[in-house]
């Protein structure tokens, strides 16, 4: 069974997901996973879709272009490589939340993400809002990261501290458990 990754970008408004999902339905496709987000006024969605045997990705792409042309959407379809269908080797990790507050300036996301990458830490989710001004809650990056068991947290924190000083940020790296404990019953 063929799988595709389908991404949809466009100016946010009611009906985008309805139009896309209806078209997939009439073409016999099945949505396996979906995620969507809105950044300021831009809608973005990523869908993992299985196609019926008799439908090629190219055919679907041309049908979507024809049907949705009036909606000014950027649609991208890529065949899902079968190598990725296999389960990846799972390394034991622990979930942490990395937060960074501070004045907006170029290079914040890249500095933090490079630092954690150097320690083999995977970012599983990122939310960043920069509204300007000095209110910490208005300029925040929240990285949800998976830290392999055995990584030296002290060393990670030392490296993050250097970034914090250089970019005038307040960076905290805390085990996710504390947020769960204090917010979830």
């Amino acid at each position: 069974m063929k799988k595709i990754i389908l991404s949809v970008l466009g100016h946010d408004r009611p009906g985008i997901l309805a139009a896309v999902s209806e078209l997939l339905l009439v073409n016999g496709c099945n949505i396996e996973n979906a995620s969507q987000t809105i950044l300021q006024s831009v809608f973005g969605s990523l869908l993992l879709v299985t196609l019926p045997e008799d439908l090629s990705p190219d055919t679907l792409r041309s049908r979507m272009s024809a049907t949705l042309s009036g909606m000014a959407l950027d649609i991208f379809i890529k065949e899902f490589p079968s190598s990725l269908v296999q389960e990846p080797v799972v390394q034991p990790t622990e979930a942490f939340i990395l937060t960074a507050f501070g004045p907006d300036q170029p290079g914040l996301v890249s500095a933090v993400s490079r630092c954690v990458a150097n320690h083999g830490i995977n970012i599983s989710n990122l939310r960043a809002v920069f509204k300007g001004g000095n209110e910490p809650g208005d300029n925040v990056m929240i990285f949800e990261v998976d830290i392999p068991v055995g990584v030296d947290l002290k060393q990670v924190n030392n490296d993050l501290d250097k970034i914090a000083v250089r970019l005038n940020l307040t960076i905290n790296l805390q085990h996710r458990g504390i947020f769960n404990a204090m917010n979830r019953i």
Binding site: G177, I178, A181
Partner: protein
């Protein structure tokens, strides 16, 4: 997925509102260390304490770092010394106290509690020796804390012990006159003492407890104050029911943080987790004050009319939140009102808004009692005993813990200031009304009988 609001609110509580794990206290049972040979006894208890608590500081710092919540203090509580050291004289028990101080230094902890006697119904030989040893033991050590339980709802009030404690408090203060009577700040007299308090100076390990146990004390008066402030900003018409609800929810969050870290510390040390003691315990720091909560609730200062009702609301909401959040809540759990340890309360006392008598009234609804109260140096032992007796009566009749930590500051008179330093803070010397007059009542001695358990009115 955690929401941004959940993450930022949690961070604010920790970073801006002084939420911390005030203490992780390891309780160590020393009953099987007993000996009638002083050197052997000291060797055994030091070996036991230092082997069990040797890694406590390092483990607490590592786990606190992992969760981003500092463990401010690491402490040890031991089996009541009057029981395990019963064969020894007062002089020998002072040697034991010094050995405990050495163990505290060796393990890097800040206080060790359990220089304790339980005498609510009578004083045995070991109890008498321990009480006699207390002044010098506390004056000669830095880290040792003492407590004596002189009353309980089941046994009544041991007035002989109370008179003796009046003299003991006085002597402890006099032996540390140069430090404003500091030794008395490490001594608490209790009614209905809990067996699992992690906070000092009242911590000891009860005789119904296991070989070793981790109890944690979580604090956060600043967190509660900010939660009340936020509520009243967003809902200016909120009533006291809403305020209680918000305090309850906040207390539950704080308790959960404490239990998470306490359990992990216990696991790392290979000992059992005991209880979370959720107490609003202030420190002499701006924004870490119980007194400020009263102002957030609409009172001009702690001590004005309305303060007892406000404290009743606060204490009850904290207990309810804690009890909801964890199945193992213990210790004192509630709101402390220690005068010198809270900038706001000390200021109210210095301004004359908060008197000793009002504090006593408030202790009928707080979680502990007359706490860290400096009194004039010429307050007699009898008068100290009378103040203690009043406080014990409140606890015994109301089936709650009460305590007295009184410091008759040598050479100081009402209105002067005392300086204890660190967490013990500083504050004014409070007046004792009619404090120097004859007090025959406390000299009759004997026991005030245990109260009737029916006819509630």
């Amino acid at each position: 997925m955690l929401s941004e609001r959940e993450i930022i609110t949690t961070l604010d509580m920790i970073k801006r509102e002084h939420l911390d794990l005030r203490t992780v206290t390891i309780g160590i049972n020393l009953f099987d260390c007993v000996s009638d040979d002083l050197n052997r006894f000291i060797r055994r208890i030091r070996t036991r304490i230092e082997s069990l608590a040797g890694n406590l500081v390092e483990i607490c710092d590592r786990i606190g770092g992992k969760y981003g919540i500092p463990v401010e203090n690491k402490r040890i509580s031991i089996s009541p010394m009057a029981a395990i050291g019963a064969p020894f004289s007062a002089r020998e028990l002072v040697q034991v106290a010094k050995a405990l101080d050495d163990s505290a230094r060796a393990t890097g902890i800040d206080f060790i509690g359990g220089f304790t006697a339980l005498v609510e119904k009578g004083m045995a030989t070991g109890d008498l020796a321990l009480i006699e040893a207390i002044p010098e033991a506390l004056a000669a050590t830095r880290h040792v804390c003492a407590s004596v339980n002189v009353a309980s709802t089941r046994a009544g009030i041991n007035m002989d012990a109370i008179l003796r404690m009046g003299k003991t408090v006085k002597m402890a203060a006099e032996l540390t006159a140069a430090a404003d009577g500091l030794a008395a700040a490490k001594l608490v007299v209790f009614a209905n003492i809990p067996q699992d308090i992690p906070f000092m100076a009242g911590a000891y390990l009860g005789i119904g407890e296991p070989d070793a146990v981790i109890n944690v004390g979580v604090s956060g008066p600043g967190v509660v104050k900010k939660a009340v402030d936020r509520l009243l900003e967003s809902e200016p018409d909120a009533d006291l029911g809403r305020i209680s609800e918000v305090i309850k929810q906040t207390a539950a969050r704080v308790t959960r943080a404490g239990e998470l870290i306490g359990r992990e510390v216990a696991k790392s040390l290979g000992v059992r987790f005991g209880v979370v003691d959720l107490s609003l315990a202030p420190t002499p720091t701006v924004g870490d004050s119980v007194g400020e909560i009263f102002q957030s609730m609409g009172l001009s200062s702690i001590g004005v009319p309305g303060s007892t009702a406000a404290l009743a609301l606060l204490n009850d909401a904290v207990k309810k939140g804690g009890a909801f959040a964890s199945s193992h809540v213990g210790g004192l759990s509630g709101a402390f009102i220690p005068v010198s340890e809270d900038l706001n309360i000390a200021a109210a006392a210095a301004a004359g808004v908060l008197s000793l008598e009002k504090l006593e009234a408030m202790t009928s609804v707080c979680s502990v009692g007359l706490d860290m109260i400096a009194l004039p140096g010429d307050t007699t032992a009898e008068m100290l005993a009378a103040i203690i007796a009043d406080e014990m009566a409140i606890g015994v009749i109301n089936k709650k813990t009460t305590a007295a930590r009184l410091i008759p500051a040598p050479g100081k008179k009402a209105g002067d200031r005392v300086y204890f330093g660190g967490l013990l803070g500083e504050g004014p010397v409070l007046a004792v009304n009619s404090g120097t007059s004859e007090n025959r009542f406390v000299r009759y001695g004997g026991r005030i009988p245990a109260p009737i358990q029916s006819l509630f009115n």
